[in-house]
Structure formats: C-alpha cells, structure tokens
C-alpha cells in the first residue's frame, strides 16, 4: 500500500520518528517556556542542560553501572542541582536588567559548558544501549514499531501533561503563575519568590536533562547535541507563542510530525522546514500560535 507514492511502511516510520523528535521538542520547549514565563530569561543554556542530562545518564551507566531506570531519576536531579547553582551564581544578578542580558549570559554559559565537555570527551559520540525491558519491536500488523520509541512518545506526553497539571491545577502552580504577573505582591503574601524562581530554573533544567537521558539510547551522546537542538527548540517556542505552555507542547509535537513528513516527501528541506513554518506563522500571527499579543 502506498501513500502519495511512498510505501506505507516508510511513511509511518518517518511519522513515528517525527513524533519522537516532536516529543523531545515539546519537553525542551516546555522547560524554556516555564523559565521564560517566570524568570523572563531566554535560556540559551537549555541545549547544554539537555546534553548534560544525556551525559549524566551515560556516565552513570558507564562508570557506575547504574541502569536506565535509575538514571532516568538521578540524571535530572543532578542537572537540576546544576541549574540551581547557575541560578544562584549568575542569573539572580540579572533580573532587574533588560532580558537580553539573560540571553547573552546563558549563551556564554552554554559555550563554557560545551567547551568543557568537548575538552573531556571530544566531539565523537558515545552510545547508550537500549534498556532490556524496552529492547525489540512490536509488529502492529501495518508497521513494526520499536518499543523504545513508543515508550519515549508515551512518557514524554505524560510528562508534559503532568507539568501542565502542576502549573495549572496546583497551589504551587498558582504561586508560579501569580509570580510571573506580579512578584512583589506574591512576596507580600508570604510566598518566598526567590526560592520559587530558583526551583523553577532547577525544574526546567531537570526537564531538559530528562529529555536528554531519554534521547540517549536513540541518538549519539555528544557535546554537540545541545547546540543542534537549541535553535530548533527556540523556533518551536516562537511558533507556539513565547511563554505559552500549551503552545510549546502542541507546536513541539506538531513540528516534529511536519519535519517527519518533509523528510519523506522532500528530504532536502527537512532541516529548514521548521524555520520556514516559523516565518509563515510570524508573518500571519506575530505573537505565535498560542501567544498573547504583547
């Protein structure tokens, strides 16, 4: 069976690959959106946090023999702590300044961290084995679906929903949202806003790291993986509407799929399709699909 002259098998395979990529885009842009929403900082270091997550997973396995499932919890914790340190040491000096300084500072941090990893591990990739439980593939009749990919899609969508619920339906989330609107007022009600801000950045970092560990068995773990990812994720955030949580998740998954389709029908354009979509969206809706007009 063919769809537009493409074998169904290949078509669905690319669609699935697109969904997997989209799942990572969604998780990363979600973290970016939350950090931007509360701290007003465009976190250029998000890519290296994702890369550090993958490395943390790989190091835990390679040097300490920690298995995938524990790494899935430990690596985000470690990177989350790194995030807290970054926030305490650097970012908190910038909150009263123009947001562009945050962009520039995190850009500098990204260079430092990537440089250190390049120095230590070189630019060649490390491979991370698929966990035993998820090895193999399931034959769905119309296509063969690798189990690990199915797990990534399901897990990341679950995580996105959980984060959304945390922000929209809990007291902590209400403080977070109120803090983005009017920090001094929330502080006056006895909420410790600086701690909230610190935890938000740590949480965003942990989310990026979680995406990194989950990506490790699918792609090569290299110091460059964050650099390649971050620009795409920025585009996803811009398309979804900056700071919009639902926008980042929907546009993350959607763009992954669009990218997958492009790879089937016109592979040459698969690298740029997201940026093309971004330009079209911005011309039509400057605030992004789900963004509020500023």
């Amino acid at each position: 069976m063919d769809i537009f002259g493409i074998p169904l098998q290949a078509f669905l395979g690319q669609l699935m690959l697109g969904l997997v990529n989209g799942a990572f885009y969604a998780m990363l842009s979600l973290g970016l959106a939350v950090i931007f929403g509360l701290l007003g900082i465009i976190n250029f270091a998000h890519g290296v946090l994702y890369m550090m997550g993958a490395y943390a997973g790989w190091i835990l396995l390679d040097s300490f023999g920690v298995n995938y499932w524990f790494a899935l919890v430990l690596a985000p914790l470690i990177v989350g702590v790194v995030g807290v340190v970054i926030e305490r040491l650097f970012l908190r000096h910038l909150y009263k300044l123009d947001p562009l300084y945050g962009l520039l500072l995190t850009f500098g941090l990204a260079l430092i961290i990537e440089g250190l990893f390049r120095y230590e591990y070189g630019v060649s990739g490390q491979s991370y084995p698929t966990p035993d439980l998820l090895a193999g593939a399931t034959n769905l009749g119309f296509m063969v679906l690798p189990n690990y990919r199915a797990w990534v899609i399901v897990a990341s969508i679950a995580i996105c929903i959980a984060v959304w619920l945390l922000i929209e339906r809990t007291r902590l989330g209400a403080y977070l949202r109120a803090g983005t609107e009017n920090a001094p007022l929330v502080q006056a009600f006895g909420v410790n806003v600086p701690v909230l801000v610190m935890l938000t950045y740590g949480g965003g970092a942990a989310l990026a790291a979680l995406a990194g560990v989950m990506a490790a068995p699918i792609i090569n773990v290299t110091p460059l993986m964050g650099e390649n990812m971050i620009i795409v994720v920025f585009a996803v955030v811009v398309i979804g509407g900056m700071g919009s949580i639902i926008g980042s998740v929907v546009s993350g998954l959607g763009l992954g799929v669009i990218e997958g389709f492009t790879r089937v029908f016109y592979p040459e354009a698969s690298n740029v399709i997201i940026f093309v979509v971004m330009v079209i969206v911005l011309v039509l809706r400057p605030a992004g699909l789900f963004g509020k007009e500023a």
Binding site: D98, G115, L116, F234, V272, F275, V276
Partner: protein, 338 residues
C-alpha cells in the same frame, strides 16, 4: 558631536594617530593577514553595533549576512572570474537583500523575540549554504583568488591587499560615522531610548528600523566579502550561529553603543582566538564563554564604555554643576537595547 571643542580636537588627534598607525603597521613587523582579518571583523562588529548600539536591536543572525556575502563574493570571483570590487559589490547586494527580508519579518517583534527570529532566519541561511550546490557543502569554497584591482593593481601580495583592505575599512568607518551623526542617526537613537515617543511624534519607526537593518546587513556583507578575498576561502563557520555570537561578544567587550568599542572588541577577541587556538584547543570556547559571562555580569559597558564612564566621572568631579555630557558618553552609559 556635541562635545566641547577641546574634546573634539583630542578625538581628532587620536584618530589621526590611529590612521598613521594603520598605514605603517605592515612595516612594524605585524603579520598583515592577521591585521586584515581583524579589520574585517572590526567592520563586521561596527556594522552590528549600528543595529544594537544605536537602534537597540539585538540581532542573533548576523552571521548569515556575513557568511552569505562571503560565499557569493567567493563564488563570483572564482567561478565567474569577476574582479575583486565586483565581488565585494555582489556580496553587499546579496546581504542587503537578505537583510531586507530578514528585517521585514523580524522588526515586527522586539527585544528577545527579535533576537530569536533573526537567529532562526539565519539558521535557514545556514542550511541553505550547507546544501546549495555552489557553496561546496562541508568543504566550503577554497582557493578564491584576490584578483586585480581596476585591471592594473594586483592584490596578490599581502601588502597590496593590506592597503586595499585598510582603505575600504576607513571608508566604511567614515560612512558609519556619517550615519550615526546624521539626523537619521539621531532618530535611530530616539527609537532606542523611547520608541513610543518616536511613534507619537509621527516617525514611521518600522521604516527607520528596517533601513538600519539593511544598512547594517550591507556593511556586514562588505566585511564578509572582504574576508573571503583576504583569506581566500569561505566556509560554513562564516554562516554558523557561533559567528553571530562572536560578533555580539566583540561589540559587548569593546562597548555597546560606543563608536570605537567594536573595533577594539574585535581586536581583543581575534587576538585571543589567534593566540590560543592551537595552544589550548577546546579551552578557547570555555575562555570566550567566560569572557561573555564576565562582560554581562561585571562590565556591561565594555572597555571603551568603562573608560568613557571613568573620564566622565572624573570630569564631573573636577567641575560639578551643569555638565552637558557628550553624546558619546550618553550612549556609553545607556543599556544596549530595549
């Protein structure tokens, strides 16, 4: 300049000394190719500063303008055998056109939105250069000839090329100075300081910004094209976003919104890279990143900005009341962007 007569004279003398220095530099034992490369990046940083320092727009996509011009210039000179000046012109026109499109889309948003949109558009240019047939893909364009100026003057020797680059640089620098100190430049500064007021005064702000973007793009194109002629190659690293970051850093280190700052910043960063590249490997990245962090945290005014602020403070201490601080000082103390 609004500054007092004595200060103007001092500035003029300083520039005269720098000009003489520029003229005799190859005879002082300095490697001319390094100085040429430095001048290209200095011009690039000045072009970038026209946008960030004087209009308040942080573009994160200037590598696309620099790099695309580098490719086009390299290609017309190598494959079509155009003379060097035509090569420069082709590069500038290309960048102007890209700048027009990029600017038209991006000036609809401000601040970080603007930065991210320019970044994403530059990424499109990057992937175009990676895949287009004429750029040589991963290898880039190699062996671009310097050619002959006006059909008579061979630029093959480093010294001849050096003087050509120096003249182009000085002319471009004067041109930027003319823009900044023209009524148009004053409007740009007003937009940077208070955009709503500019709009309420009836200025069509978007047009001014777009023109600034195109001017900055064209000059970045000149810098990129000239770099290709000097070095004889154009590669993917010219269009890579790390180059956009580099030009931001050069401007930041030198002093955003100061006139000479970007030149100094380009000098400092190029020298650091040149001196360290083969000695410390990946540490260059770490060091550049650390300079970035340090600048943002502690020296937001940059080298020239800090010096000007220091002189300003000292002058005010000497004669406190009614000091109309000069325009350059005002710019130096201002934040880079809104």
């Amino acid at each position: 300049m609004v500054s007092s007569g004595a200060a103007t004279l001092r500035v003029r003398i300083t520039y005269a000394i720098l000009l003489v220095l520029l003229a005799i530099l190859p005879w002082l034992g300095v490697y001319p190719v390094f100085v040429m490369k430095l001048l290209c990046f200095a011009l690039f940083a000045c072009a970038f500063n026209l946008l960030l320092g004087y209009t308040g727009l942080l573009s994160f996509g200037h590598a696309a303008l620099f790099g695309m011009a580098a490719y086009v210039c390299g290609w017309v000179v190598t494959a079509l055998h155009w003379p060097p000046l035509a090569g420069l012109l082709a590069g500038m026109v290309t960048s102007a056109l890209i700048g027009l499109v990029m600017g038209a889309v991006s000036i609809r948003r401000q601040g970080i939105y603007f930065a991210m949109i320019t970044l994403a558009m530059a990424q499109m240019v990057f992937f175009f250069c990676l895949q287009a047939p004429f750029t040589g893909g991963e290898d880039g364009l190699q062996g671009v000839p310097r050619g002959t100026l006006f059909g008579v003057l061979s630029l093959h020797s480093d010294v001849a090329m050096y003087y050509f680059v120096a003249v182009v640089f000085v002319l471009a620098y004067l041109f930027i100075s003319r823009i900044v100190h023209s009524p148009y430049g004053q409007v740009l500064k007003m937009i940077r300081e208070n955009e709503p007021r500019a709009i309420s005064l009836g200025y069509r702000v978007d047009r001014y910004k777009l023109l600034a973007f195109v001017l900055s793009a064209t000059l970045s194109g000149l810098a990129g094209s000239m770099k290709t002629l000097v070095m004889g190659f154009a590669t993917l690293s010219d269009v890579h976003w790390a180059t956009s970051g580099e030009v931001i850093l050069m401007t930041l280190v030198g002093g955003v919104g100061t006139f000479f700052g970007p030149v100094l910043g380009a000098g400092v960063i190029s020298t650091v890279q040149d001196q360290l590249a083969d000695k410390v490997g990946s540490w260059v990245m770490v060091i550049i990143g650390a300079v970035f962090v340090l600048c943002v945290l502690a020296f937001r005014r940059g080298i020239v900005g800090e010096i000007l602020a220091f002189l300003d403070r000292r002058r005010q201490a000497a004669n406190p009341p009614n000091q109309g601080s000069s325009e350059t000082h005002r710019a130096a103390a201002a934040p880079p962007a809104k």
